[in-house]
C-alpha cells in the first residue's frame, strides 16, 4: 500500500511516519519510506512517501498516480499532491487551511474541484476542530487522522499495533494525549 503523508513543516508529519513505521514492524510487515528535511521543512510543504507490504518492496518513492491513500493535514497541501493520485486514491484530509503570503483563502470546494477527478473517495474531516475542543490543541490532528484511517480499515494495521507504536514514539504525557486523539479518529 502506498501512503502519501503531507502537510506543512512543523505539523509533525515525520512523527506520523515514525508511528506508522513502528506499527508496520510490530505486525512483521515491511515498509520503505522517504522524507525530506532542511529548508523544505521551514513552514514549507512536507511530503513523506510511505510504502507498506507483506514482503520486501523496493523504491522508497511513490510514482505519480501511484498513491492508494493520501493523508493531508491541510486542504491546500492535499490539492498540491494530486499528481500522486488516481481513480483508486482515497483522500483523508483535515478541514483546515493555513494561509500564507501568496494565498490567503483556500476552501473545501477549491480542493474538491482539483482532487475529485483523481480520487476514489474523499474524506474531509474536522480533526483540528475536534482536537482543539477535546484536547486543547490541534497539534494532535495528524494522530486523529491516522486513527480514522485505522478504524475505517483503510490502512492494513491493527489498532493494537498503532497504540503500541504511539507509545514507542511519544513520551508518557504526550502518549496519553495522542492515544486520545487516535481514539477520536473513531468519531470523525
Amino acid at each position: 500500500m502506498n501512503i502519501l503523508l503531507t502537510g506543512i513543516g512543523g505539523q509533525g508529519i515525520i512523527t506520523l511516519k515514525k508511528v506508522l513505521s513502528y506499527a508496520v514492524l510490530k505486525e512483521g510487515k515491511f515498509f520503505r519510506s522517504s522524507e525530506l528535511h532542511g529548508l523544505s521543512q521551514k513552514g514549507g510543504e512536507v511530503l513523506v512517501h510511505f510504502r507498506i507490504a507483506d514482503q520486501e518492496i523496493f523504491s522508497p518513492l511513490i510514482e505519480k498516480g501511484g498513491a492508494d491513500l493520501i493523508i493531508s493535514l491541510d486542504l491546500h497541501q492535499a490539492s498540491r499532491v494530486v499528481d500522486f493520485a488516481s481513480k483508486k486514491t482515497i483522500f483523508i484530509v483535515d478541514n483546515s487551511f493555513s494561509p500564507f503570503f501568496q494565498l490567503k483563502k483556500f476552501s473545501q470546494s477549491d480542493f474538491l474541484k482539483i482532487a475529485s477527478p483523481f480520487s476514489k473517495k474523499i474524506f474531509i474531516l474536522e480533526a483540528s476542530k475536534i482536537c482543539q475542543e477535546k484536547l486543547d490543541s490541534d497539534v494532535y490532528k495528524g494522530t486523529a487522522l491516522l486513527g480514522f484511517a485505522c478504524f475505517q480499515k483503510i490502512i492494513p494495521l491493527k489498532e493494537k499495533s498503532m497504540t503500541w507504536a504511539l507509545k514507542k514514539v511519544f513520551p508518557a504525557d504526550l502518549f496519553q494525549k495522542n492515544k486520545k486523539a487516535f481514539l477520536l479518529g473513531k468519531t470523525l
Binding site: R32, H37, G43
Partner: protein
C-alpha cells in the same frame, strides 16, 4: 550509562541512522562533523548518544576542520568517522587529497551525502564521486538503511585492512530513506590513542608523496579482490540474457521496482563500490550482451567507465543511461522504467501531464517568532530593494529570498556573501548589504572579513545571530551560549570580540525584536555614509533548545 540500541532488535531507521549504528557496531571511537542536510542526522544522533557509548564526538567549526581533526584521531590509532554534506566535501578537499596519501592507524570512514535534485541544498546538484580521480580511495554506495549500516562496518574493516580512509557516499533518498534495520553487537572500546612518529606514513612532503601516490594507486587491484571476496558488487541473474543492467545506490531500487512493474527479469550488476569499480566483473558482464542499462544518480560516471570497458570486450553493445534520462534531477522509477522500456522496445506510457491548474506552492517562511522576521521587516521599511544589492549566504535567512521580502540577489556558498559584497563594492557605486549567519560566521567568514578590512571596502554586514545552527536542526556552534549546549563545547566565543580584534570600528550589537528602531537607524546611517559597518542582530532562535531537549526514542 544506558545503551540505546539492543542487539537483535529490528528498528525503523533512516539511512543516516543506519550509518551511526554501523559505526557503533564497528566500535567507532571518535566522530567529527559539521551539520548539513542531507547528512545532519548522523551528527545529531551521535550528539545524543555519545555519552551513552563513551564516544568522543564534536561539532567542528567547519568540514575541513572536522576532517583534519578526524585525521588526527585516526593517525593516533582511534576508529574515526567524519560526516558532511556534499558541499562540505569541497571545503574539506584541501585536506582530503593529501590525506588519501597517508596511512591512518585507526580505521577512518568519511561520509559524504549528495543531494540530487537539490531538495535541501540551494546551491547546485553535485556528484561527489567525481573526487575519485584525485583520491583513489574506496567509495562505497549503499542503497538502503540496512546497507548503510553494513557498508559502514565494511568501510571500517576495509580502512583498517588497507590503512586508507574509506568514503561512504549517500544521496538524499538513501540518507532519508526509512526501512527496517536489524541491530547487531555493539561494543565500544574506550582507549587513548598514541601518535607514533612515522614520517613516511603521515607526512606528504615531496618527492616522497609521489611514492605514496604510487602505493595508493597500486592498492586498487587488491581492494577490488578484497571486495569480491566479501561478496560486494553482486550479479543477480535474470531470464533475459542479451540485456543487462548496471545500477548503483538508490537507482538500484528504482530499477527493481520497474522490473517488477513490467514483470521482467534481467541480470543486474549492482555496483556497491564506485571505486574501485569491479572492472573484471563489468567486462564479463558485458560479454554477449546487446544492450546495457546504467542507472545511477547525477553524473554518468559509471556509464562512462562501462563505455570504456565495452570497447575492449564488446564494442557493439548499446549503452543506455543519461542520454535517455538526462543529466538534471534525481533518478526515480519513471526514469528507470523509461530506460527499461527503451532497451526492450516496449510501450511505456508515462503518466500523462494533467491539465489541471494547481494552486500556488507554499514556500518556506520564517517560523512564527523567528527573530529574522524583524530584521527583514526593518530592511523592507528603510530600503527600496531595487536601490541596494543584497548578497545572501547559507542559513535560515535565505528565506528572505522568498516573498514577501525577496531580498537576496546572490547565493554561492558558505561565506560567499562577504566576498561578493567586497567585489561589488569595489567595482560599483552601489550600496551593498551582506547577510551572514552566526554558524556561517565561524564556518567560513573570517578570511573574507579580514580581506574586507585589509583591502577596504564598505558594505553593511548584517550578522544574523540566532545563537545556534538553526536551519540544519539547531546544532550548537562556537558562539552558542553554554546554557544551550549541555552536551558540547566548553567555551562560548563571542563574535564581537573577534570583530573588534580585526579593527572593525562601526560595530553594533542589538536585539532585532526589542531594538528594531535602533536597527532601522543603523540601516539609515549606512545608506548615508560610505563606511564599513557591522550589525550583529542577536536573538535566540525560537527553537534554540530543540536538539538538546529532543528525547531519543527507539
Amino acid at each position: 550509562m544506558k545503551k540505546i540500541f539492543k542487539k537483535g532488535e529490528i528498528l525503523p531507521l533512516i539511512g543516516n541512522e543506519g550509518i551511526v549504528v554501523g559505526a557503533l557496531e564497528a566500535s567507532v571511537q571518535s566522530v567529527f562533523t559539521y551539520p548539513g542536510t542531507p547528512a545532519s542526522e548522523i551528527g545529531n544522533l551521535f550528539y545524543k548518544i555519545k555519552e551513552n557509548y563513551g564516544i568522543y564526538m564534536e561539532y567542528s567549526t567547519n568540514e575541513i576542520v572536522a576532517l583534519e581533526s578526524g585525521a588526527g584521531t585516526a593517525f593516533a590509532g582511534l576508529k574515526t568517522l567524519v560526516a558532511m554534506k556534499h558541499f562540505g566535501a569541497n571545503v574539506a578537499l584541501d585536506a582530503l587529497i593529501p590525506l588519501a596519501h597517508t596511512k591512518p592507524r585507526g580505521g577512518m570512514v568519511i561520509v559524504i551525502a549528495d543531494d540530487p535534485s537539490c531538495h535541501s541544498s540551494a546551491q547546485s546538484e553535485q556528484d561527489s564521486r567525481i573526487l575519485w580521480q584525485n583520491l583513489y580511495l574506496p567509495i562505497l554506495e549503499p542503497s538502503t538503511p540496512g546497507e548503510a549500516k553494513e557498508f559502514t562496518k565494511i568501510a571500517f574493516t576495509l580502512s583498517e585492512t588497507f590503512q586508507k580512509p574509506v568514503i561512504i557516499r549517500t544521496t538524499t533518498r538513501v540518507s532519508h530513506q526509512g526501512g527496517p534495520v536489524k541491530i547487531g553487537q555493539i561494543k565500544i572500546q574506550k582507549k587513548k590513542g598514541v601518535f607514533k612518529k612515522e614520517k613516511e606514513r603521515f607526512d606528504t612532503m615531496p618527492p616522497f608523496v609521489l611514492k605514496q601516490k604510487a602505493d595508493l594507486i597500486s592498492l586498487k587491484e587488491k581492494i577490488e579482490k578484497y571486495l569480491e571476496k566479501i561478496g560486494l558488487n553482486k550479479i543477480s541473474p535474470g531470464k533475459i540474457k542479451e540485456i543487462g543492467a548496471i545500477t548503483s545506490g538508490v537507482s538500484h531500487l528504482y530499477l527493481l521496482e520497474s522490473l517488477k512493474k513490467f514483470n521482467i527479469s534481467l541480470p543486474i550488476l549492482k555496483i556497491d563500490s564506485f571505486y574501485p569499480l569491479p572492472s573484471k566483473k563489468i567486462i564479463n558482464f558485458l560479454r554477449k550482451k546487446k544492450k546495457i542499462i546504467v542507472a545511477e544518480e547525477i553524473i554518468d560516471l559509471i556509464e562512462r567507465e562501462v563505455k570504456i570497458l565495452s570497447k575492449e570486450v564488446n564494442p557493439q553493445v548499446k549503452i543506455l543511461g543519461k542520454d535517455i534520462v538526462g543529466l538534471v534531477g534525481e533518478m526515480n522509477t519513471e526514469k528507470t522504467s523509461l530506460l527499461l522500456t527503451e532497451a526492450l522496445k516496449l510501450k511505456y506510457q508515462r503518466t500523462p501531464k494533467r491539465k489541471i491548474k494547481l494552486p500556488v506552492k507554499r514556500t518556506p517562511r520564517f517560523c512564527p517568532g523567528c527573530p529574522y522576521w524583524s530584521i527583514f521587516n526593518a530592511l523592507a521599511k528603510e530600503i527600496k530593494k531595487e536601490k541596494v544589492v543584497f548578497t545572501g549566504d547559507i542559513g535560515c535567512y535565505m528565506i528572505g529570498y522568498f516573498p514577501p521580502f525577496e531580498m537576496q540577489d546572490t547565493s554561492l556558498c558558505m561565506g560567499s556573501s562577504l566576498g561578493l559584497a567586497h567585489g561589488i563594492d569595489k567595482s560599483t557605486k552601489q550600496k551593498v548589504i551582506a547577510f551572514i549567519g552566526d554558524s556561517t560566521f565561524f564556518h567560513a567568514s573570517l578570511p573574507n572579513i579580514i580581506n574586507i578590512v585589509n583591502n577596504q571596502s564598505n558594505p553593511l554586514i548584517i550578522i544574523f545571530d540566532n545563537q545556534i545552527t538553526a536551519m540544519t536542526g539547531r546544532q550548537p556552534h562556537p558562539g552558542t551560549p553554554l546554557k544551550y549546549k549541555t552536551h558540547d563545547g566548553k567555551k562560548e566565543i563571542k563574535i564581537e570580540k573577534i570583530l573588534t580584534a580585526l579593527g572593525i570600528e562601526n560595530l553594533t550589537i542589538l536585539d532585532p525584536i526589542k531594538e528594531n528602531q535602533l536597527l532601522r537607524e543603523k540601516i539609515r546611517e549606512f545608506l548615508k555614509e560610505d563606511k564599513l559597518k557591522v550589525v550583529i542582530c542577536r536573538h535566540p532562535c525560537r527553537y534554540v533548545n530543540a536538539l538538546e531537549k529532543a528525547k531519543l526514542r527507539y
